[in-house]
Symmetry: D2
Subunit: 337 residues, 4 copies
Amino acid sequence: MIVVMQRGATQAQLGEVVRRVEELGFRAHVSQGEERTIVGIIGDERPLAAEPLEALDGVEQVLPILQPFKLASRDFRSANTVVSLNGVKIGGREIVVIAGPCAVESREQIRETAYAVREAGARVLRGGAFKPRTSPYSFQGLGREGLELLHEAAEEVGLPVVTEVMSPADVELVGEHAQMLQIGTRNMLNYSLLHAVGRSGRPTLLKRGFSSTIQELLMAAEYILSNRNYNLVLCERGIRTFETATRNTLDINAVPVLKQLTHLPVIVDPSHATGKWQYVGAAARAAVAAGADGLIVEVHPHPERALSDGAQSLKPEAFVKLMAELRRVAEAVDRTL
Amino acid sequence: MIVVMQRGATQAQLGEVVRRVEELGFRAHVSQGEERTIVGIIGDERPLAAEPLEALDGVEQVLPILQPFKLASRDFRSANTVVSLNGVKIGGREIVVIAGPCAVESREQIRETAYAVREAGARVLRGGAFKPRTSPYSFQGLGREGLELLHEAAEEVGLPVVTEVMSPADVELVGEHAQMLQIGTRNMLNYSLLHAVGRSGRPTLLKRGFSSTIQELLMAAEYILSNRNYNLVLCERGIRTFETATRNTLDINAVPVLKQLTHLPVIVDPSHATGKWQYVGAAARAAVAAGADGLIVEVHPHPERALSDGAQSLKPEAFVKLMAELRRVAEAVDRTL
Amino acid sequence: MIVVMQRGATQAQLGEVVRRVEELGFRAHVSQGEERTIVGIIGDERPLAAEPLEALDGVEQVLPILQPFKLASRDFRSANTVVSLNGVKIGGREIVVIAGPCAVESREQIRETAYAVREAGARVLRGGAFKPRTSPYSFQGLGREGLELLHEAAEEVGLPVVTEVMSPADVELVGEHAQMLQIGTRNMLNYSLLHAVGRSGRPTLLKRGFSSTIQELLMAAEYILSNRNYNLVLCERGIRTFETATRNTLDINAVPVLKQLTHLPVIVDPSHATGKWQYVGAAARAAVAAGADGLIVEVHPHPERALSDGAQSLKPEAFVKLMAELRRVAEAVDRTL
Amino acid sequence: MIVVMQRGATQAQLGEVVRRVEELGFRAHVSQGEERTIVGIIGDERPLAAEPLEALDGVEQVLPILQPFKLASRDFRSANTVVSLNGVKIGGREIVVIAGPCAVESREQIRETAYAVREAGARVLRGGAFKPRTSPYSFQGLGREGLELLHEAAEEVGLPVVTEVMSPADVELVGEHAQMLQIGTRNMLNYSLLHAVGRSGRPTLLKRGFSSTIQELLMAAEYILSNRNYNLVLCERGIRTFETATRNTLDINAVPVLKQLTHLPVIVDPSHATGKWQYVGAAARAAVAAGADGLIVEVHPHPERALSDGAQSLKPEAFVKLMAELRRVAEAVDRTL
């Protein structure tokens, strides 16, 4: 960490900074430049992040040198982490496609979809039982009944399941019905939930907050990892920008950035990242070409009747076509699918 | 709601849209323009929001006509709502200042601050016991002990208290120690928490998500109001933009926009909105001049030793000076403080 | 265009809106809903865009129905436009790679790069002579001399050239040395320049403003097209968001959106879109997979000595490797490269 | 400037960084920390900004220590700059209000507005003759004729004039008709224009780019100042964010930030910053309370007939009322108006 003093800061102010740094158990290294004096702090600065050195008189700014996450970093673990769901491995050479409806709506709907996506080559089934919705007047999911229908359909077709958990109190219940817990974009900063999911030890899919930086995503991951749960997969699902032609902006750059910074697997959600089924294919192909370890795609047998996210859901026949395209792109980047 | 058909949409596609709209219990009004055909949907469109009409073939876009919130709107209640905390009224002619430290750190710290802010004219005491922190390695608050210290100090100086609640399971506990529950910016979309706080019926301060639109803030309010809890105050606390000179960008426009759209009181948090104590005064004066009903300001007796948010906390003497300035601005806009 | 009246708007206010619409030469179609009255405007609304109907009393909002661009739209021309530079065709089945240094720095540097990129398979040479720089103290380009060196090197290796023009006064000069004019991201809204380039009739590469929407990009294109210059290629080069891990955020969604909305060719600049050479490969592969018609890539023989954009420039050997990867991805999406 | 080496960077890589820094004429100061080795660069780093040290092998990141602007900084000139237009002083104790229509439309319109705004207390007249418009099909301004009408009206009422210049070629012409040149938000990064206006020596109003950081605004100012033109006023006019309830988001924080960083006067444009006349008053009052040195407000005698920006223009009677409110707020912050 580097403390930059204001032009004209006094020796007394400088002394106070040094004293405070040392009081906190670090060594301070003063360097008098022509334009500014700076104080370098020697040691692992992470516990210092919270220390309000900026509030000391005469300080202009404080620059961190290290990334604030540890367990998620390649410094901590250089080899890729592989997360396994009933034998399906995420983070290896195979690109894993997760597919299914936004929400579980009925036994028939989830069964029909489960068969269709398995047939097309999906390796994991998705489906929401607890649905976070912008409006309290919108369909909120079938809850426990939805979990049961999802579980039943998944067993029948032989796929593991991922589904969202919205509250610490539901972690156990959801864990009984699904092989993987999903933390949705709105809950990436819900620390009670991060801790609860971390403590459960269950495989987890952590979606990036729609306005969270890559660093913040890794800090949220750190909450789960610090509970000794390393069964963690990260998901880029589009961020909020000024562009309104699409529901979100897919931050495709996040794929190589994350692959460089962390050992955790990284998948992409092209459905939320675009918000329109017409663009899902292009976004999915881009994700595979950029190096993603998997995809999570919304598929619905009758999008125009879907109780949520109809506009961005692929029909089963469109999903079949997409899978064929993705296989070709995967091969072009030396992966399988 | 207006459905705009694609150029070249067929009569069959148009018929399907009309049929679907009618099936959902609405009347459809077709209007053939020179460039596009549009279908107007007659009736309260809000329950329709979730219907994926965009997924129907031949549809170009769907335009909502009405704001999606009801109970929060001036259509529903035209007069200003006033929320009362032990006789302190938020939403009336008086501008109410809430002040205190970011986090409760010790009995001495919260007592010292409570006396100082009351002396300066604050009407409500703030202080965090459960702290949402970006890093799992940062101070996370004193929890239950913090609540007790806060409660004790507030009783001693005779001020009501507002403090954050982060989990549905804590609503009751926090409610026993505080007159007002705060839902923080990271939890604005935590629907389990919104419902729990709504059901509690307790006075609530709902902070805008740092990347949520004004409309989304009002939809989050709708979650609380739909639980028949009208003791609700909204708080603009800065949004995330590309600007990095400040921690957030204070969306001062949100004040008149919210005052126009909703009957709920609107306050501003100039501490988080700027992130640097040097700018808090300007932001606070601006908020009062723009029509805010109150302020929530971070004050700490020793910011350079604060366990969180030191850089944006005012020292007691700076807060006294600010209160004097704010009184003059309040008078200039025909308010008291 | 749909005019939505306020709840409680009077008949007189409604009458005034209708009268004003008709005065402007359009027909108005009034529809009284249960919650709001709306006025539909029949006819090509585009010239109306500027009319401040929102300023009329009783009007709540005005919703456009049509996209505001005409000549750039698929409505106007459904087949893909192909732009030809000395026989190199942009917009056809072949994906065209443009490569070269950010800035022309010396005869040797541009010659060395020109040979290297041609060898690797680039079809067009890029290089800046007039450089827009954030700081007046940074290298501003060699100007006319740079143009001459660029022209000379391009002739020698037999590639057409694209280079930026920053001022209407330079359009002719630049046009004498380059087959294609580039309008940079900072000048996308420089209307004097758009007109001048449009009038020149020369092939043009229009880069998206770093904070411009896709619709605004198409409106800027409209300025050029309305001067009857259809030799126009659009370029997505990253947008400004809250994310700071990369210089810009590549809006990969813009590729399928633009391909749907416009007949103009669309290329991607992975160098500016990421800002770090380590991420250029992933972004470039993603662009090809998403359907881009070409790429513009920064290559420099000695990035660590580059006078601008060193951090995002590929060395020639990395570029050779990237081209091999891109060929495989191109084939996977049925294109050549 | 601080160069942070990667974990595991070799001594050879470190040596290469030091060699390169010294080659560029600076002294390098190496500091081996426990987690990272850093190289401090001693001296005025600004000319280095362009050097791509990040491209050197083994470098993780490069952190600047100094603000990149010089002449605009308080380091360079600590006292406030005051810009004078025919005796009207911007940057002193008086808050100066500039008012007038978005565009000059006719002799009658500009005359009527000029009388009205002078009567209400405006000290400078604004009006556009060259209008940058998103659509080539919108009204583009009256050009030279508009300048003449504006000049004539201003002379008649005895106010100085500010009007936009869009092209270097027009600087002289506009300068003959106006006391102050305006560089609009779309042209903040138009360096040819910045240089031309700088060379003219004329009083200039530089509007912040709608997606430019405060630092970039000061770098644009630096272009003008480096041409020895210190008659410069900066204008915050709203930035682009995800919020769509208003046309732009007024970055009110920018006022205290700019007043701290620079000696140049800072004014606010509440009309563009909100985009709706209903919110202009709140934004204007906030700007004065936050410490702005002036305002630029759009006023039109018949907004519903305005050829541009009707929705955000105040009628003369609303402007009179606003001026009365602003006088009270100005007094409350010890300013006059």
